[in-house]
């Protein structure tokens, strides 16, 4: 091929591939949601998903938020000192955690922890014909596998984000009061007074969107897995990468939308 056009053709090809992928993910998402209105439902699967996605993610979410909140307080204190703004630590920690770091970090942790395991589990079911077996047992894989996980992600990740926000602020509070000499009561009043309902709402909305993306991508790549162990590995990897990138992109869009 013409050496000048080759790179352009490559860009064109990958753009088309990207658009096709976005299209098929969108179709998959619409199909999944359409089952919301068509019984039968599988409440047990939903409860199991709530437990594995929500409850068992609490430790990792808590630790991530705690350390990040603490580090944020330190950074703002030393950075703020350059223009005599040390006093704003509580406010900036609150804003930073609630609006941005809480949802994003929780979202990425969920992508690492949940998306990967969902993708690996479903891909293994695919390559060992368990999905085919489900179909022959009159059970729709989307209703039985995808919808419960996606709904659980949509509903429980906002809760995780809320928990993460609170723990992150607590991390900042601990560092602020123990290390930086803030008055405990003032720190808390400053935080509470400063946060607006919109900050919290955006945080939870981001959580819902990220939970949806993380679980959907796990199911999507799992269901499309090729045969064999290699197929499972590839599906898992692609699902985590796609979920992480989509979460960051969605984070930008939602931030534009809210503020």
């Amino acid at each position: 091929m013409n050496p000048v056009l080759a790179p352009l053709a490559a860009i064109g090809r990958s753009t088309l591939a990207l658009l096709a992928a976005i299209g098929s993910v969108a179709i998959y998402a619409a199909q999944t949601l359409s089952h919301l209105f068509r019984p039968p439902y599988y409440p047990r699967e939903f409860l199991t998903a709530l437990m594995t996605i929500g409850y068992f993610s609490l430790p990792v979410v808590g630790l991530t938020a705690l350390f990040t909140g603490g580090a944020l307080a330190l950074q703002i204190y030393s950075g703020g000192a350059r223009f005599n703004a040390e006093a704003v630590v509580p406010q900036i920690v609150a804003i930073g955690m609630v609006r941005e770091l809480g949802p994003v970090l929780v979202g990425l942790m969920i992508a690492a922890r949940v998306t990967s395991s969902v993708a690996a589990e479903i891909a293994t079911m695919k390559v060992t014909e368990q999905i085919d077996a489900l179909v022959t047992l009159s059970t729709h894989p989307m209703k039985y596998l995808t919808l419960p996980r996606v709904m659980a992600g949509l509903l429980v990740v906002p809760v995780l984000v809320g928990v993460g926000d609170v723990i992150g602020i607590m991390g900042g509070y601990l560092v602020g009061t123990e290390r930086l000499g803030f008055n405990a009561a003032t720190y808390l009043t400053n935080t509470v007074d400063f946060l607006e309902a919109r900050d919290v709402a955006s945080s939870l909305a981001k959580g819902a969107a990220f939970g949806f993306i993380a679980t959907l991508m796990g199911c999507y790549y799992g269901m499309r897995s090729d045969r064999g162990a290699q197929g499972v590995g590839a599906a898992t990897k692609s699902s985590v990468v796609a979920a992480a990138v989509m979460i960051l992109a969605a984070n930008y869009l939602l931030t534009e939308l809210f503020f």
Partner: protein, 248 residues
Amino acid sequence: MIRLEGVHKAFGSNRVLRGVDLEIAKGTSMVIIGGSGTGKSVLLKSVLGLVRHDSGTITLDGQDVTTAERDAFLARFGMLFQGGALFDSLPVWQNVAFRLLRGSLKRPKAEAREIAIEKLRRVGLKPDVADLYPAELSGGMQKRVGLARAIAAEPEIIFFDEPTTGLDPIMSGVINALIREIVTEMGATAMTITHDMTSVRAIADNVAMLHGGVIQWAGPVAQMDASGDPHLDQFIHGRAEGPIEAVR
């Protein structure tokens, strides 16, 4: 009655089925034989709609399987997969009773469990395997759990993909007798894939041999030995020399 007419299926350039014509009458037992990789499993999956055939028609009682109402259609079938395909997140008894625990056949848990244990007994498994997980069973045991699951809801039509592969000769005998019994006593229609000629003779009313993407020979099991078809003869007697080339 299941009827296949001119069924074609290719995976990329690999033309697996090249015009399969076959008829399985209601209440009879059809055994499909043929070399490894000739498309026997693909054939069963096409009937169930798990694999979409490229052309030709497959009908069940005159109705095209691709346009049939899925739930009602699948409710008539049971299938044992070649690899067992047990759900490894569920204990054995819940695998067997899968259909009885949800959907239109749903019944109380205790009753479903009882049925599952009874079906496990019929495939030669003791009640204490009921609470194990599939990963804790041997290959042959998994196969039999898959068999128990296929027959649990007493479907009209049952597909068995290599039911006796990996079983000892005595257990194979038990399974062959079970399949025969399901057809004669429950009036089910069975389609079985097997490589074991003893099983063929024990299970089959009719035999069909798949070779080169088409049905090379089909007929009653009694006529199998006197078919005069060199492909079939070679297969039955397991000869390395003959019209079917064994790649070495």
